[in-house]
């Protein structure tokens, strides 16, 4: 686990793996503190890297879900709603042209 924590490859891991490694890093940090031993530099570096990657992946996942929901909402629209949208777009275009 220590070796995985020190040498992880952000592209190879998924969010679950990274969360597990970050949890390990926190335990490691706590143990250094409990033992009153200076924490090696890599602990902080790797934890920061992991947290940044987790946040980035979670953000990507949220954006993907938002887009999926938008597409699903579109499919739930009635023909009348779609007609109204098209009418509105047409009016905007006509206003722009004139």
């Amino acid at each position: 686990m220590l070796s995985d924590f020190q040498n992880f490859n952000k592209d190879r891991l998924n969010v679950d793996d990274m969360v597990a490694l970050a949890a390990f890093g926190r335990i490691l940090r706590a143990e250094y503190e409990a033992q009153k031993v200076d924490e090696p530099e890599f602990v902080d570096t790797q934890l920061k890297l992991l947290r940044r990657e987790i946040a980035s992946k979670v953000d990507d996942k949220r954006q993907a879900r938002r887009k999926q929901i938008e597409a699903q909402l579109q499919s739930l629209k009635t023909p009348a709603e779609r007609r109204a949208e098209l009418e509105k777009e047409k009016a905007e275009l006509e206003a722009a042209v004139s």
Binding site: D11, D59, D60, Q68, A71
Partner: protein, 497 residues
């Protein structure tokens, strides 16, 4: 030492990928159908669940049906496994049966009847639209080869554009077939919403969308519809469509990879796809996926991989690396990779990825004599406990200590006899196999000729066991299928034909 066509021989021969040349299975399959019919029947069932090579799933049931000596009571299992194939594979099986396996069109009645039953069954399936959407041409060809016609008017309209009374007809209004023809005229969000709500398969939408394929909304909808295999094989195309740069696409791709990790169907495709990708980030993602897939395949015990690095064995060095890399991911125990000429060079590769193994062994080059036994001798001296040994060599052992001398000493030390597998490659010599035979040491041989590529290796590795007979037991314990397990509406009429 095993002679003739044993169960292990059958397993090793049929675990290799002929890359679409089903005829390569014919000789060994026919012999197996005669000599070990019950085992072959169970192997067909086992292979459906565990096998990675689609060609074997298509060819083996056909071969058993084509062999007159194959017992009639086992034929239903073969037919049931043919019936479980998808349309494309069923068509391949039919063609293989007609052109190569049966060698006589008049004997095709059973297969033709099975295809007719399969088509009827699909006509009544509520997922028929999805099937027809993806396999329109294949279904038409199956109807034609089976000398059959659809029973339902709607199906006739979708496939042939005509009613059953042969009058012309447009695609059913509001059907998914009609929507697909209009996809390219819709707005990107509209097209995306249709793809998601109607679950239009990636391969169909890909063909119907034209330039709209480049829109992120559409790409995202397509990623959602992709099967694990499609995700892996289309990674390169997805890269061009922005899966690396667009955050939403990146998120959807990550999710798709997560789903693919639990699929055992596409391990070999992942290997190939990873090799084809230029982008290092995506390559790593696919490698990570492959690690998870290999882990789920599982092989027990501690393993020793003995790689021959004697003169002209450059290919054996690379094969040994690949086997060690695959084992390192598959096994829960430890894996040692030992390169030998007359001296061993040992590396503990437990859990190491292939690229790390390649880096650690990059300066290994082929030269020197051959002592396969020196690698095992090293394990004996360091008192390492191993359960299985994979030897990658041309088998030209010519220096002491000989493997067949060290093996009994190791077995006495460990109190067990590790299973031995030989990946026989290069300019093959049979000195080693003869020595093992005369020493009475059982060894399974995988014949690695030029046609066996690195792509097939994980499949061979996954058949290795630490108990000599456990894979055969596993195969024999796999339940045979009956047609009623596969078809809802059919009893045994297809067999009776």
């Amino acid at each position: 030492m095993e002679t003739g066509l044993t169960k292990n021989n059958i397993l090793s021969q049929l675990s290799k990928s002929p890359h679409g040349k089903l005829v390569d299975y014919l000789a060994v399959g026919m012999t197996a159908a005669k000599q070990e019919p019950e085992f072959l029947a169970h192997l067909i069932a086992w292979d459906r669940i565990n096998g990675q090579i689609r060609d074997a799933k298509v060819a083996l049931p056909v071969i058993t049906l084509a062999e007159p000596a194959f017992p009639p009571e086992l034929r239903e299992n073969s037919l049931a496994h043919l019936a479980l194939l998808g349309p494309r594979e069923l068509l391949r099986a039919f063609r293989f049966a007609g052109r190569e396996a049966f060698g006589n069109a008049s004997r095709m009645g059973t297969v033709r009847h099975l295809v007719r039953t399969w088509l009827r069954e699909k006509e009544n399936d509520r997922h028929w639209d999805r099937l027809a959407l993806q396999h329109h041409k294949v279904l038409k060809e199956l109807y034609s080869l089976a000398h059959a016609r659809p029973e339902k008017d709607r199906i006739n309209v979708v496939l042939y554009g005509r009613h059953l009374d042969k009058t012309r007809a447009p695609l059913p209004t509001g059907s998914v077939f009609e929507v697909v023809t209009h996809l390219k005229d819709m707005s990107p969000v509209g097209a995306a919403s249709e793809i998601i709500s109607r679950r239009i398969p990636f391969i169909v939408a890909n063909g119907a969308l034209g330039e709209k394929m480049k829109d992120p909304n559409v790409v995202l909808a397509l990623i959602q519809q992709m099967s694990p295999t499609e995700v892996v094989t289309n990674t390169k195309m997805l890269e061009k469509l922005g899966v690396k740069t667009n955050p939403a696409l990146r998120g959807a791709f990550e999710e798709a990879l997560k789903k693919a990790a639990s699929s055992k169907k596409n391990v070999l495709k992942t290997t190939r796809a990873a090799e084809a990708i230029d982008d290092e980030g995506l390559k790593e993602k696919l490698r990570g996926l492959q690690d998870r897939q290999l882990l789920s395949m599982g092989v027990e015990g501690n393993w020793l991989v003995l790689g021959d690095k004697s003169g002209s064995m450059a290919r054996a060095i690379e094969i040994a690396r690949r086997i060690a890399g695959t084992l390192a991911k598959m096994v829960k125990g430890r894996v040692w990779l030992v390169f030998f000429d007359t001296q061993p060079q040992t590396i503990d590769v437990s859990g190491a990825p292939l690229d790390a193994i390649q880096k650690a062994t990059q300066y290994i080059c082929a030269n020197g004599g051959t002592s396969i036994g020196c690698g095992l001798q090293r394990m004996l001296e360091t008192k390492e406990e191993i359960d299985g040994i994979a030897i990658v060599s041309d088998g030209g052992e010519n220096s002491t200590p000989f493997f067949h001398h060290v093996y009994p000493q190791y077995a006495a030390f460990a109190g067990k006899e590790p299973t031995v597998y030989l990946y026989h490659c290069g300019n093959k010599s049979y000195a080693f196999t003869h020595l093992m035979q005369s020493a009475g040491i059982d060894m399974q041989v995988f014949d690695i000729d030029e046609s066996v590529d690195f792509y097939s290796l994980p499949n061979l590795v996954s058949t290795m066991r630490t108990n000599r007979y456990s894979l055969c037991d596993e195969v024999m314990a796999t339940k045979l299928l009956k047609l009623k397990d596969v078809f809802e509406s059919v009893g045994k009429e297809a067999v009776a034909c």
